[in-house]
């Protein structure tokens, strides 16, 4: 899961309420809504390595 860093507290609480405290997720700088398609692509490139890393490692490790 990726969310903007303004939603950190909500994401943490959501993980707790779903019985997955410490659930790992990635953040991207806020805001996102007004980005152009090119800027979204840049964001994706910047976070891609972390996504791959997270998907190939154990959750919470």
């Amino acid at each position: 899961m990726i969310c903007s860093d303004a939603f950190h507290a909500t994401a943490q609480a959501m993980a707790d309420v779903r019985g997955a405290p410490g659930y790992r997720y990635l953040t991207t700088p806020h805001p996102v809504a007004g980005l152009t398609p090119e800027q979204v692509r840049e964001r994706a490139e910047n976070v891609a390595a972390e996504v791959a890393n997270m998907l190939t490692k154990d959750q919470g490790a």
């Binding site: 939603f7 507290a9 909500t10 609480a13 959501m14 309420v17 779903r18 809504a33 007004g34 980005l35 152009t36």
Partner: protein, 361 residues
């Protein structure tokens, strides 16, 4: 207090109120400590089982039963006879697609708008006239507050965590009034939405902005409607095409329009035609994306832009334009509001069994 033996003990009350604060049960204002006996009085005003689940928020793993609603209505300061309105308001707002889809946790911090019709307005002394948005009346103040406490205490939607409100609507949990049917030239909202005249009912939807239209300046209905259309057309609150917006007309504005031959449906049709902005005006505010075929939330790129004089209407149908008449007849001041998601265009009948019994009827 005087220390009269018959008067309640204010120190005991204070201890109980502070206990509620310590437990995190309040919205910042003191709540009424809810004893089991008090909650039972609320439950006597409905035929619904205390164990009935009013709503479940699966993603949070929380639900609200009729019993939990009664506790929160009591804490909000409702009288027991208001409880059927709290239940009806919850049922009504949950007919709103946005309320089912996470609207309660939205960054907009949307406010439920509750409009009551029928004889129950008088029986419970629900304000319908002067100061409908201004406080001072117990049912108007406490019924919407009960919804806020249910959200907080039953579903655990707390500020800064699951309630992601950026700023929120001023008076978010205080917008509830009766329609001023006696001074309205038009059919009551409950009748317009399909119920029999004289039915005690309410409608509720989530709303995202409120703004005055103060126009004591003209007797020309088209000029007046243009003033409303200008306010409804503002770009500030615009997010997407196909928004829903309504008007709480003061009696004077409503009577002027009706006197010029406008039925409620005519006013809605006028708004559908005139409420909107041109592409150039939307572009000036960076909101040209809301035009037909636009890219979404962000501003349009050069290749996506429509011709500058293309008019983008905001409202698509009568069902998206709730019109209510309320307030005093002492000035020509009305209120425009935007619906957060999609008004259900329905009203919910209010259970009256227990209220009638309490009155010996």
């Amino acid at each position: 207090m005087s220390g009269d033996a018959a008067s309640p003990d204010p120190d005991a009350a204070r201890d109980a109120i502070e206990y509620c604060y310590e437990k995190g049960w309040t919205d910042g204002l003191p709540v009424v400590p809810a004893s089991e006996a008090l909650v039972n009085e609320f439950l006597e005003h409905t035929s619904r089982s205390p164990d009935e689940v009013l709503w479940r928020m699966d993603h949070l793993g929380r639900e609200c039963t009729v019993h939990t609603a009664a506790i929160n209505a009591a804490m909000a300061g409702c009288l027991p006879e208001y409880f059927p309105l709290v239940l009806a308001a919850w049922d009504a707002v949950m007919r709103d697609r946005a309320a089912k889809g996470g609207g309660w946790q939205s960054t907009s911090g949307p406010a439920p708008l509750i409009v009551v019709n029928g004889p129950i307005r008088h029986d419970l002394e629900i304000n319908c006239t002067g100061g409908i948005f201004a406080g001072g009346f117990r049912p108007n103040a406490t019924i919407p507050r009960a919804l806020g406490l249910m959200l907080r205490n039953a579903f655990g939607v707390l500020p800064h965590v699951f309630d992601q409100t950026t700023q929120g609507i001023p008076g978010r949990w205080s917008i509830c009034f009766g329609e001023n049917e006696e001074e309205s030239p038009w059919e009551p909202l409950a009748v317009e939405t399909g119920l029999e005249p004289g039915t005690s009912a309410l409608s509720c939807t989530l709303t995202r902005t409120y703004e005055f239209v103060d126009n004591r300046h003209t007797q020309d209905p088209e000029q007046l409607l243009n003033d409303f259309a200008d306010t409804l057309s503002r770009t500030g609150s615009l997010i997407f095409r196909g928004q829903s917006a309504g008007v709480v007309f003061c009696p004077e504005h409503a009577q002027m329009l009706a006197g010029a031959g406008y039925a409620k449906a005519d006013v809605k049709d006028w708004f559908i035609e005139h409420v909107g902005r041109t592409e150039a005006e939307l572009r000036r505010a960076g909101k040209d994306a809301v035009s037909e075929g636009g890219p979404g939330a962000r501003s349009a790129s050069e290749s996506e832009r429509a011709p500058a004089d293309t008019f983008t209407p905001y409202l698509s149908g009568r069902k998206d334009i709730p019109i209510i008449v309320a307030g005093a007849r002492n000035a020509a001041i009305s209120m425009v509001f935007r619906v957060f998601g999609e008004w259900s265009n329905t009203s919910v009948e209010i259970e009256r069994m227990a209220v009638a019994a309490a009155k010996g009827g």
